[in-house]
């Protein structure tokens, strides 16, 4: 039976992970269909309805400019989603390249690359991100790149570890003896076999990236106004903390539910992909 079929069967059996996957799909649908779903324009200012509490017209209330919080949150889901996926895409690409080079070639290249990983792990990531964002203009692109560039180290270590064991296997020797070059051996023969842990790391990575994006936007270093992001709505929430609790409550709940769903999916994937847990029933 194919590995993916087994994985899917095992994944489905994990109810929490399955629920997480359903929520993730729902969020993707909301993000894609934002213009159709949102009851108001996310940037429509209504100065007669400033900071009004949740009501029938505005289920999650309005902000300091009278904008509908629910609509802003629906559009904000686009930011979280795209930052999550693009940042993790960048992190994984860097991690795979560095990890496979280090693991495949070994020797001095391995030592140098792994010391680089050590250095990157020592610098407080959040400091590094803040520095870069403060230097370059803050925008959604800056955030994606910065989160990606500071988040690849775990993937690199995972891929390297996989390569260290895989490169000694017979099928690699077979590939080489039939004339495959180094690059072909790395990317066509070894890498596909090293990807399962990367998938798991990527799912957790999306969750982490969404959290970081919201923190950066909260500090005013993320998505710039008037574009809505869950983190920047929370900034307004902090400014009006004594009068408007709804500005603080709902966007944070949205972040919590989204991140929780990705984490549950990641945990489910990890269990489903771990052959050590297959013993009881066999693939």
């Amino acid at each position: 039976m194919r590995l993916s079929t087994v994985t899917w069967r095992r994944f489905k059996r994990n109810r929490l992970a399955f629920a997480g996957a359903v929520v993730v799909l729902a969020l993707i649908t909301i993000a894609l269909g934002a213009p159709a779903i949102a009851p108001y324009e996310p940037t429509a200012i209504d100065l007669h309805n400033v900071l009004s509490p949740p009501s029938a017209e505005h289920p999650f209330g309005t902000d300091d400019l009278g904008r509908d919080v629910l609509s802003r949150m629906i559009y904000g889901s686009r930011i979280s989603l795209s930052v999550g996926f693009v940042a993790v895409g960048i992190a994984i690409s860097i991690g795979i390249i560095i990890g496979s080079l280090a693991g495949y070639y070994g020797g001095i290249l391995d030592s140098v690359l792994m010391r680089f990983v050590d250095i990157m792990l020592t610098i407080p990531t959040f400091f590094l991100m803040l520095t870069v964002i403060a230097i370059v203009e803050p925008s959604i692109w800056t955030i994606m790149i910065v989160i990606g560039v500071t988040g690849w180290m775990d993937v690199a270590r995972l891929v390297r570890a996989e390569f260290l064991t895989l490169k000694q296997r017979d099928f690699v020797l077979a590939a080489k003896t039939s004339g495959a070059g180094n690059l072909r051996t790395i990317f066509r023969h070894i890498l596909p076999n090293a990807l399962s842990p990367v998938f798991v790391a990527a799912t957790f990575g999306v969750a982490g990236a969404i959290l970081v994006e919201s923190a950066l936007s909260f500090l005013g270093l993320g998505v710039q106004p008037p574009n809505p992001s869950w983190g920047s709505i929370l900034t307004t929430g902090k400014d009006y903390i004594e009068v408007s609790w709804w500005l603080s409550l709902y966007p944070g709940l949205a972040i919590l539910i989204t991140v929780l769903s990705y984490n549950l999916v990641g945990e489910g994937l990890r269990d489903a992909l771990d052959p050590r847990l297959w013993e009881t029933e066999g693939p």
Binding site: T122, I123, F126, T131, I133, S214, S248, G252, E267
Partner: protein, 327 residues
């Protein structure tokens, strides 16, 4: 032991070099140097004035010379003077660092005293109701943005109940208080920041303690200990827990950068004048010398955290020391 410590210290040297290099390059290769920021407010600033500013900060020299100059001063902990107020950067950092360290040490203690018992309990009673409930809480904890939790706690304890202050680390009238009142005042101000700072680590640490403990409990010597009739308490606390503690020490070292980075967020939210808030203000003002100084200091603190973790690891585990000698 001395040999191991020495070797471990030597390994730090290339790391420190790499950290300073990355810090330096990140700041200097980025577009929009410090001069642009100081002059962009008025377009009337002449090219001549701009050149003067550049020369003042040594920005007209080639990059490698700037780096060497900076390293030479860095060895003496001289990070130059702030672009913002012209004060010495190391003095500015020194003023701010104690409060940040206090909060971080308190939150590490909080993490250890809460997370390890939870982890050990759920491992010992795996699949029990307690294990399941704590697993759910761990997942929610992992996924909660700590700054959001901070806002909610501020609304609840600060605004609704009015029992805790929501900003600063002491009241304005603190100088008129006696020692006891002062301590109480500080404690009240620190409850929320320390809890928030510890929050992120709590979930991770209890998870690690759980899996580390589960790993140990499956070992043969635990079965032996049980088989020879030792009370369960002794087996868990003396035989299992001591061995499970070692990986936990390492994880603690790895958590330091996240804690230090997190200080930016909670210090900004709670208006605590520590290193994190200084860092935030400096990046906003593009005060490069201060930013570089704090980046390097933050990385050094991480290195020291790792070093302490490694050394204590070697202290409790003789295998590490011996292997270190053979290699």
């Amino acid at each position: 032991m001395l040999y191991y410590t020495g070797k471990r210290l030597l390994m730090m040297v290339p790391l420190i070099f790499g950290i300073t290099l990355i810090t330096f390059l990140v700041i200097h290769l980025a577009p929009g140097g410090p001069v642009e920021v100081q002059t962009e407010m008025s377009t009337k600033v002449s090219a001549q004035a701009r050149e003067n500013l550049k020369r003042l900060y040594g920005l007209d020299k080639p990059l490698h010379e700037q780096y060497i100059d900076w390293i030479k001063r860095f060895v003496k902990f001289d990070f130059g003077t702030s672009f913002v107020d012209g004060r010495s950067v190391s003095r500015k950092i020194l003023e701010r660092i104690p409060i940040t360290l206090i909060i971080n040490v308190l939150s590490i203690l909080l993490i250890l005293s809460v997370a390890i018992p939870i982890g050990v309990m759920s491992a010992v009673k795996q699949y029990s109701a307690f294990d399941k409930v704590s697993t759910v809480f761990v997942f929610i904890g992992y996924s909660t943005p700590s700054f959001w939790l901070a806002l909610l706690l501020m609304i609840f304890f600060g605004v609704q109940l009015g029992v805790l202050p929501i900003s600063g680390f002491q009241s304005i009238d603190v100088s008129g208080m006696n020692l006891f009142e002062r301590l109480l005042n500080w404690a009240k101000h620190l409850v929320l920041p320390v809890s928030i700072s510890a929050f992120g680590g709590l979930a991770g640490m209890s998870r690690y303690s759980r899996s580390s403990m589960l790993e140990v409990i499956r070992q043969d010597y635990i079965r032996t200990a049980r088989a020879k009739g030792l009370p369960e308490r002794t087996v868990v606390l003396r035989h299992a827990f001591r061995n499970a503690l070692m990986p936990i020490v390492t994880i603690l070292g790895l958590m330091v950068p996240a804690l230090i980075g997190g200080s930016v967020i909670f210090e900004t939210i709670f208006a605590i004048p520590g290193m994190g808030k200084l860092f935030y203000e400096s990046t906003m003002a593009r005060d490069y010398p201060t930013v570089m100084g704090i980046l390097v200091i933050g990385a050094l603190l991480t290195l020291i955290g790792n070093l302490i973790a490694d050394i204590s690891y070697a202290l409790v585990d003789p295998r590490i020391r011996v292997r270190g000698k053979e290699a």
